[in-house]
């Protein structure tokens, strides 16, 4: 198979295991490309991609932009803060105006869950979801699983723990879908107030005791507390959160388990969810995740652009 089952990457929920395998296989090749002296291929030289960000982003935006440039695509960037959105323009109008300038693909981040699904019903172009509210962040999940696969091989039966602010995290949801499709077992851990209701219906077990959860897992994906999305107080203080759910060497020593693979989607709040010695330690794959992000995003853009015969 050399074709994705979808024309748009809106979420991990609606892609297949075969799609994920194809993206990984292609990303393997792009990883080799970005480690060459000339880190660029001409594949998308006739494609223009708009990065439309209605919400702040550093890493994801840089990673997408770099992926697009490494594929030789033309790139335009758009931030909601400095645009006509402030003047009352609708999402469909904004995107249609950008497409009228002969743009072929849209990479979008939006604070509202489902914004991409809505948009896909009204515009006819390839769309990549770079995060929609607390819903999905598919490329992050793909690069997380790709990095894990690099370290662990086949993920079937691997025990993966997602820790922290699950309620406000799009990374958690996309990771759950992706890892389960790859055969891993996923559990979530955090304060009860930050665990979404009915998350068990996704086949995910909830663990409130962090120590027990660590003793169970092969991999711990430490999420950031998303204070900017929290409209009420979910726990008394950051210090208390950190004492209960912060990952430190002392904690790992106390359970006698040092080889847990540590992940973090960034940005890290050092000293809150994770201490510096763990984040920079030998079992941390945080920077591998960042490097792989470019290769995985190149694969997604390449496959989406390539499956539409738009020239002849």
């Amino acid at each position: 198979m050399s074709k994705l089952s979808t024309k748009r990457l809106l979420g991990i929920k609606n892609i297949t295991r075969d799609d994920i395998d194809l993206i990984f296989k292609t990303a393997d090749n792009f990883k080799e490309v970005i480690n060459r002296p000339i880190k660029k291929v001409p594949s998308l030289r006739d494609i223009t991609i708009a990065n439309i960000f209605f919400e702040n982003s550093t890493r994801t935006k840089l990673s997408f932009e770099l992926a697009e440039k490494r594929l030789s695509a033309d790139v335009i960037n758009f931030s909601a803060g400095s645009s006509s959105v402030k003047k009352g323009e609708t999402l469909i109008d904004t995107v249609n105006n950008i497409l009228a300038m002969k743009v072929d693909m849209v990479v979008m981040r939006h604070p509202n869950p489902g914004a991409h699904v809505f948009l896909s019903k009204h515009v006819n172009c390839a769309i990549v979801n770079a995060g929609d509210g607390a819903h999905e962040h598919p490329t992050q999940a793909l690069l997380d699983a790709f990095s894990l696969r690099e370290r662990l091989g086949d993920l079937t039966g691997k025990k993966i723990l997602i820790v922290g602010d699950i309620l406000h995290s799009r990374v958690a949801l996309s990771n759950i879908f992706c890892l389960q499709k790859l055969g891993a077992e996923v559990r979530v851990c955090g304060p009860a107030t930050l665990i979404p209701k009915h998350i068990e219906s996704l086949g995910v077990k909830v663990m409130l005791n962090f120590k027990e959860a660590l003793a169970w897992c092969d991999v711990a994906n430490m999420l950031r507390i998303q204070l900017e999305r929290q409209d009420i107080q979910y726990f008394p203080t950051l210090r208390e959160y950190s004492m209960q759910y912060g990952l430190s060497n002392d904690l790992l020593d106390s359970i006698g388990k040092k080889d847990i693979i540590i992940m973090h989607p960034g940005p890290i709040n050092r000293g809150v969810e994770i201490t510096s010695d763990i984040a920079d330690g030998e079992h941390s794959i945080i920077l591998n995740q960042v490097e792989n992000g470019v290769a995985v995003r190149m694969a997604v853009l390449y496959l989406l652009a390539g499956q539409t015969n738009t020239i002849s």
């Binding site: 050399s2 292609t26 002296p37 660029k40 291929v41 001409p42 594949s43 006739d46 499956q307 015969n309």
Partner: protein
């Protein structure tokens, strides 16, 4: 579908030996020469040529395998993107004499992509092309090989395939003819 044997195992063996000798004649001690085979099918020829040169001269020529998928000119012109193969090229081509190797030379487009891909690894002082089979009169780009195993005249609805057997016991080159509606 009809098929016709172009080279049997023995003839192919002779051809491979001759190609290795031709390279030896031109490149001598292979001091500044490297061989790069194009994925996916050129590598099956490339590996054998490198082995034969080693048998002949005792020299282990630097050898790399190059995938050209991301450099092709038919991207977005076919219904499905091609799945890339692995690139395995751990040396710089800067200042080297490079021999590009592919099994069947047809339109010349793969070789064009291969040259672009290769130039991302440096600037060679010279590039030559080896093809086991040259389908002459079917070129779409001005590409000509320097070393040819066998030249064949083949029309569009025919295809030439090189079969490499696992233990080098029954290698052969076959021509397949399809009726126009097949």
């Amino acid at each position: 579908m009809e098929s016709r044997l172009l080279l049997n195992h023995q003839a192919l063996e002779h051809t491979l030996n001759r190609l290795a000798f031709e390279l030896f004649e031109k490149h001598g001690d292979f001091q500044n020469t490297a061989i790069i085979a194009l994925q996916p099918r050129g590598v099956l020829l490339g590996r054998r040529i490198v082995e034969r040169i080693a048998d002949l001269t005792g020299v282990k020529v630097p050898y790399g395998e190059l995938d050209v998928t991301f450099y092709r000119d038919d991207f977005r012109r076919r219904d499905e993107p091609l799945v890339p193969a692995k690139t395995n090229l751990d040396f710089s081509v800067e200042g080297k004499r490079i021999i590009l190797v592919d099994d069947v030379l047809y339109t010349g487009r793969t070789v064009r992509s291969g040259m672009d891909a290769m130039l991302d690894f440096g600037r060679p002082i010279q590039v030559e092309l080896m093809a086991l089979i040259d389908r002459r009169f079917s070129r779409e780009l001005p590409v000509q090989p320097d070393y040819v195993g066998r030249m064949v005249d083949v029309v569009k609805h025919e295809t030439v395939k090189v079969h490499w057997s696992e233990y080098n016991s029954d290698n052969k080159v076959t021509l397949y003819s399809f009726a126009n509606n097949e």
